[in-house]
């Protein structure tokens, strides 16, 4: 077995002009150029995208599931951040 494992890359595809790139999956490739070529073959065989980003998986920092509370709970009691919190009288019109 080869010990020369190709690194893992995460692939992001822009589905259509005007949309942001979205994570679609990962693949192995020796370098960035091949990662994009492989991504083309693996993830866009049916015109699923107009642009590809590839980034080595090891370069991604991710939050932990355990941090969920400290990261997202503080938003629970801040409903005023949503426009629907405020009642605007009908006579004011669209706002």
């Amino acid at each position: 077995m080869s010990t020369n494992d190709w690194p893992l890359w995460e692939i992001f595809i822009r589905g259509a002009h005007g949309l942001s790139h979205r994570h679609v999956g990962s693949l192995h490739a020796p370098d960035a150029e091949m990662a994009i070529k492989n991504a083309r073959d693996v993830y866009t065989r049916r015109k699923e995208g107009v642009s590809i980003w590839a980034i080595e998986s090891s370069a991604i920092a991710a939050s932990s599931p355990e941090d969920k509370g400290s990261l997202y709970d503080p938003a629970d009691d801040k409903v005023y951040r949503h426009p629907t919190f405020f009642d605007i009288p009908d006579e004011v019109g669209a706002m």
């Binding site: 020369n4 190709w6 999956g25 990962s26 693949l27 020796p30 370098d31 065989r45 991710a62 599931p65």
Partner: protein, 330 residues
């Protein structure tokens, strides 16, 4: 299915109040329809079972390229050839989506490949049968991919996020596979007597092995019960097999072909067909490695891996050289 012999560890499904708090919280998330993601805590058995199941599924996609690849150079028209190429390329893609999903559980791609090549991991029994005529390309797409869809559609709702997402992608493409197969069957069934005969012969040979794809009856299996509690198996083998037969019989009738089962009969009471079980002795023999094409399939995979070694190494060497040049230039 594509993972026919995934044996789970353990002795049966525990009730919620028998579980440790962490495991109980995990099971409650699954019961509530939550998706489990790679960094979430999961029981060791869940992880192990999923690696086996997704790995076998991935291997099946990869080995599954071989019986159809066999006919690419001999497709009857350029259009059929282009379609078959696209289909076989999709199978490679399906294998890759699934390997990626398995890798999120902590196994490496090379470990999975190694386990396939040395026989520690299995692939679906169906791919150990030969594809003798062009009509087999029709039968494989229609029946084998048709059976696969039965299993894969519900797996889009499986509890493990990466697996479910891979299934969504696969199912989108699988429908093309089944339709192109049925299209081949329609053309042959409407053709000359010799072509009709080939179509019937392909159905005769692939019917039993297609029914085997769902695996043996699992009504009383504790392994299945655990997998179903974990939502990594969504339906029983018998349930899916019945669904497949009910759907396929009318399609065969449309083609003017005869399903090779003299016991096949509509059962009004159950609202489905009664049918004969496939030859389970043959099934277990194939799983033990005695399928008609098993040796050839394993040789082909090993040869592809060995012959490709210099390419993989060369590309890594090139990548390392480019990286070094970039560092030197900075």
């Amino acid at each position: 299915m594509y993972a026919q012999m995934v044996k789970s560890t353990g002795t049966g499904v525990k009730a919620l109040d028998e579980m440790e708090p962490q495991e109980r919280a995990f099971q409650e998330r699954i019961n509530a329809g939550d998706k489990i993601e790679p960094k979430d805590w999961m029981p060791a058995g869940y992880r192990k079972n999923l690696i086996r199941q997704i790995g076998q599924h991935a291997h099946s996609e990869i080995v599954g390229q071989l019986p159809e690849g066999n006919w690419i150079t001999r497709a009857p028209t350029l259009e059929r050839k282009a379609i078959l190429l696209a289909k076989v390329q999709d199978e490679a893609g399906h294998g890759l989506y699934l390997y990626c999903a398995a890798e999120t559980l902590g196994v490496t791609r090379d470990e999975l490949t190694e386990m396939l090549l040395d026989g520690r991991m299995k692939y679906s029994s169906i791919f150990n049968y030969p594809t003798l005529t062009w009509a087999d390309m029709g039968a494989v797409g229609w029946l084998v991919d048709g059976a696969a869809i039965m299993n894969q559609v519900p797996l889009q709702r499986t509890s493990y996020g990466p697996y479910a997402r891979a299934m969504v992608r696969i199912c989108k493409e699988e429908s093309f596979h089944q339709r192109q197969g049925f299209d081949i069957m329609m053309t042959m069934a409407k053709g000359t007597d010799a072509q009709k005969h080939m179509a019937q012969d392909a159905l005769n040979r692939f019917w039993g092995p297609s029914l085997m794809m769902f695996g043996p009856s699992d009504e009383n299996s504790v392994h299945s019960a655990q997998s179903m509690a974990w939502k990594i198996k969504m339906n029983s083998n018998d349930e899916l097999r019945q669904k497949f037969v009910d759907q396929t019989v009318s399609q065969a009738e449309y083609l003017g072909l005869t399903v090779p089962d003299e016991n096949l009969k509509w059962n009004e009471k159950k609202g489905g067909y009664d049918f004969s079980q496939p030859d389970w002795d043959e099934f277990f023999d194939v799983l033990r490695g005695n399928g008609p094409e098993t040796t050839e399939r394993m040789e082909a995979r090993n040869k592809a891996w060995d012959d490709g070694a210099w390419v993989r190494d060369g590309m890594m060497a090139h990548a390392a050289k480019k990286k070094a040049m970039k560092v030197a230039a900075e």
